[in-house]
Amino acid sequence: MTRHDIAVVLHLFSRSARLQKKRATLTIASIAWGTVTILMLLAFGEGLKRQFSRNERAMGENLAIHWPGETSKVWKGLPEGRPIQPRIDDIALLRARIPECDAIWGEMRSGRTAFTYGRKTVNAAISGVNWEYGDARKHYPQPGGRFLDARDEDEKRRVVFLGYELAEDIFGKEEPVGKTLLVNNSPFTVIGIMQKKTQTSSYGSQDKNHAVIPISTYKALMGRDKLWVLVLHTARSEDMENALARANLVMASKYGYDPKDEHVWGIWNTVKGQAISAKIFLGMEMFFGIIGALTLIIGCVGVANIMYAVVKERTREIGVKMALGARRGWITGPFLLEGMLYTFLGGLAGAAVAIVIVTLLDLIPSEGVKVLEFLGKPTLSWPSAAATVAVLGTAGLLAGYFPARRAAAIDPATTLRYE
């Protein structure tokens, strides 16, 4: 393409751009509609994804929860079917042996414990945990309170951290922090209430409904030191695999089982879950994107349609230009430009509408509205904008290309002679 070609095409385009206003407007509107559809679908998908992963992460990230089980293989003269039961001491052992882990803790649990305050008794789950549990499991305290700390654990203090719903069940409108309540008839001081969070995954019970006390206190109170679960937490998800392998070896040598025996532990590795969710959401976004793209393509078919009509209308004009020496590119160029102009204007209008809608939706308060807390808010992201531009650009080019090709195929000899 030479500068002469470009100059001629631009000149012809500027002279022929006598738009058919009504048709052009309708076409641009259909492109705009398609753009709004694709952008809103992608924005909805993005909002859903962000909210879902936030909810999913509400339990904590990069956790491997180990439930103890039984051996299934004979090992060094020991029979199969032996229960493996980790104890509180194992936590220190594992912490010393697994440098990959950010935190390792044990949990002991009772699913139904009586919490008595004044004349009211509520039954709920209680967990005895190491203090590292708090940050890793996102048990952030509300202002005015705190989570368990190392001294609580060392001194076996009778302190309790409450889930916010459980706190409300027990105390109603009263401020719980600092109050004393009875747990299984032993007095405990409430040191903190968990901040609100929307949580979609859990083991045991929902965090908002349980109470947490130091693991040492739990042992003293219940007279047991068998762990319900053992949890590994890594700072980076890619360290989890090594940490798991190492933990298995440490425990296998201590308790004497075949390290290849996969039945000893029931393991929930949330890193895998996170990867699967990411794939599911990618798939969902692609699905939304395809639906949006199809809608947009319908708009582009409209552009192609109007362009075909224009070519037909201007057949004679095209023939005249050819007779006067216009090359094919000079005929097709203005049509391509016109198709792209419609697409561009439609895309621009659609993007503007989508931005307005998303902005307005953002103004609706989601606090307390269950559906919105769960679904999140439509969010426009750069990748979805890029995808929309790519679809629009391609479709716009094609919508101009095919009619332009028809224009170039016009035979001047036959169009010029007859009225």
Binding site: H11, R15, M322, A323, G325, R327, L416, Y418
Partner: protein, 240 residues
């Protein structure tokens, strides 16, 4: 203009040199042979009228002479350039440089002014903007429409439209002015004016080929070629 050697061996400089031109239209089922071997030589400065009844093949001949179409067989050189085997874009360039078309239906673009209509072939020919302006003014002056430059074709009379078309045909200073029934859509007065204009252009040294069945126009030509059923049946040089 290059020189070609005609069949007689004399050195001449023909504008149109057609030998053994055949044109077959293949409609799929039937093959129609529109031209069955045309030999036509037109020298510079000639005024040739091609006449014949409808269906005789004169439109086909006009398309070939004007490089709107290529022959099925035979050789055609236009101003010394062999054009019988050129591709579409090359033919477009040849039309732009060498042929000035005047059509029965004027074929002006209705939405742009007379000036812009005349400017169009200059735009295609890559003539710079300033020179375009001068050339358009010059040719519109030549056809007597200096005061109508900014008018749209719809604001002009039939005779004026045809004169704009002639100005457009002259703009690129073509080797041949090719007119197809140029008076066919005009009343007798305007038609007469246009005929007069063609005669003047010829007298100023331009080569003019007119396809017509209007004998009053044909009689003004220096030579009348008659076509019938795809062949030239007579070729008369008028006694000037």
């Amino acid at each position: 203009m290059s020189r070609v050697i005609n069949s007689g061996g004399n050195v001449t400089s023909e504008i149109i040199h057609m030998t053994g031109i055949r044109k077959v239209y293949d409609t799929g089922k039937v093959k129609v042979e529109a031209l069955k071997g045309i030999d036509l030589l037109v020298a510079p400065g000639e005024f040739v009228a091609i006449v014949g009844p409808s269906g005789s093949g004169k439109s086909t001949l006009m398309n070939l002479v004007g490089c709107l179409d290529t022959p099925s067989d035979g050789r055609y050189s236009l101003a010394g350039e062999d054009v019988s085997k050129l591709g579409r874009d090359e033919l477009a360039d040849v039309r732009n440089r060498r042929v000035g078309f005047v059509f029965q239906g004027f074929n002006l673009l209705p939405q742009i002014s007379a000036f812009e209509n005349v400017e169009m072939p200059l735009l295609f020919g890559g003539v710079p903007v300033r020179e375009r302006r001068d050339r358009v003014a010059e040719v519109l002056g030549r056809v007597g429409l200096s005061d109508r430059m900014e008018h749209k074709p719809t604001e002009l009379s039939g005779g004026q439209m045809q004169r704009v078309a002639i100005a457009r045909a002259l703009a690129m200073r073509p080797d041949v002015l090719l007119a197809d029934e140029p008076t066919g859509n005009l009343d007798s007065t305007s038609g007469g004016d246009i005929m007069q204009l063609f005669t003047q252009l010829w007298e100023q040294g331009r080569t003019v080929v007119v396809i017509t069945h209007d004998m009053s126009l044909a009689r003004r030509a220096s030579r009348i070629v008659e076509i019938h059923d795809g062949r030239i049946v007579s070729d008369t040089v008028a006694a000037a």
